[in-house]
Symmetry: C2
Subunit: 202 residues, 2 copies
């Protein structure tokens, strides 16, 4: 095994590619796509997005103090990419991408209806780091599309929404299920399960 070395760079992958919606009223709503996002704290739930000062959404979010993170899917892949390339100064991105805004519960920024999961965020701090400003935020409400609920268990199955990931300049579908958190220490089920016993009875 031979290691090659590069100059320092942003090589943590795969990352989410989320559509961040912002603005306070319909004619000022905007969407920007970011991969520089993630969870920074579990309790209280907190996340961040990092944005260049030059992005139109930077000013909008700085002024209003809130945004919504909308998870993306294969069906939304084109809009996800397009909203990351184009500027809200030039386009009404909701209109161009045929996306629909909906009123959020706790923030002024709109939800994107077509997204499977919407995360309402209130900015707690803006850190200037160089090329990007980091918006630290508290997650104040979360919404999911009911069609991804498992009817038997009531659990939300995100994989059914066919989420996408971003890795080294490319978008990928989420692939095969490998295991649940903790699978490496889970005891294997013994032979002669309840199901088997039931079968014998019948």
């Amino acid at each position: 095994m031979e290691k090659i070395s590069w100059k320092p760079g942003t090589m943590i992958y795969p990352l989410p590619a989320v559509m961040v919606s912002c603005g306070t009223q319909a004619d000022g709503y905007n969407i920007v796509t970011v991969a520089w996002t993630g969870i920074i704290n579990t309790n209280p739930p907190m996340c961040y997005i990092s944005l260049r000062k030059s992005r139109h959404s930077h000013g909008v979010i700085k002024q209003n103090g809130d945004f919504v993170i909308n998870l993306t899917t294969r069906k939304l892949a084109f809009a996800t990419d397009w909203c990351g390339v184009k500027s809200g100064r030039d386009f009404d991105k909701f209109k161009e991408m045929k996306l629909h805004p909906a009123k959020a519960d706790k923030v002024k920024a709109p939800l994107i209806v077509e997204s499977p999961v919407n995360i309402e965020c209130i900015v707690t701090e803006i850190k200037e780091l160089g090329s990007h400003d980091m918006f630290l935020a508290e997650i104040v409400a979360v919404h999911g599309d009911s069609k991804y609920l498992d009817m038997e268990t009531g659990a939300f199955d995100l994989s059914k929404a066919r989420p996408i990931a971003y890795a080294h300049g490319k978008y990928y579908a989420l692939g095969d299920f490998i295991g649940k958190f903790g699978f490496s220490v889970q005891k294997k089920k013994k032979a002669g399960t309840k199901k088997y016993n039931k079968k014998k009875k019948g």
Copy 2:
């Protein structure tokens, strides 16, 4: 489309599941797996990890001021999960998982040889957020396994390493390629390409 609402939670996915290595000498090396990680700035390249104070690695990284982020793969999925469940207080995780440490260039923490990408990080700030402390860090060196270099182009192809992602309590493989960043605005190639012309000549 009907939206259901949950209490605020950590629902940004898919995320990377990285193995973070730390410590200054072989008998104190440790590995902790985190999904609360990502890029916060492009230039200078910066990232973060968030850790509970109770994690063994929290104290190690706080004391030494550096760590290495090691990307994970299908082959490393078991070790990735195990290192997130078990504690370095109880196990030598390198030994238990048959992983090999290697000397880093710029930090005291070791690289994990079996990882396809190793990212050396120096802590610049620790932010106490509640359940977790966020370690902001500058990326000072990056290494990749040469076997994932494309021999023709010289480009590093991370997808060949079969990276894994973490989403809502489950690990997944990275799936089908969807498009490159910018695909939504790329002009389509016209008919009559060079390749076609060549074929006609032959």
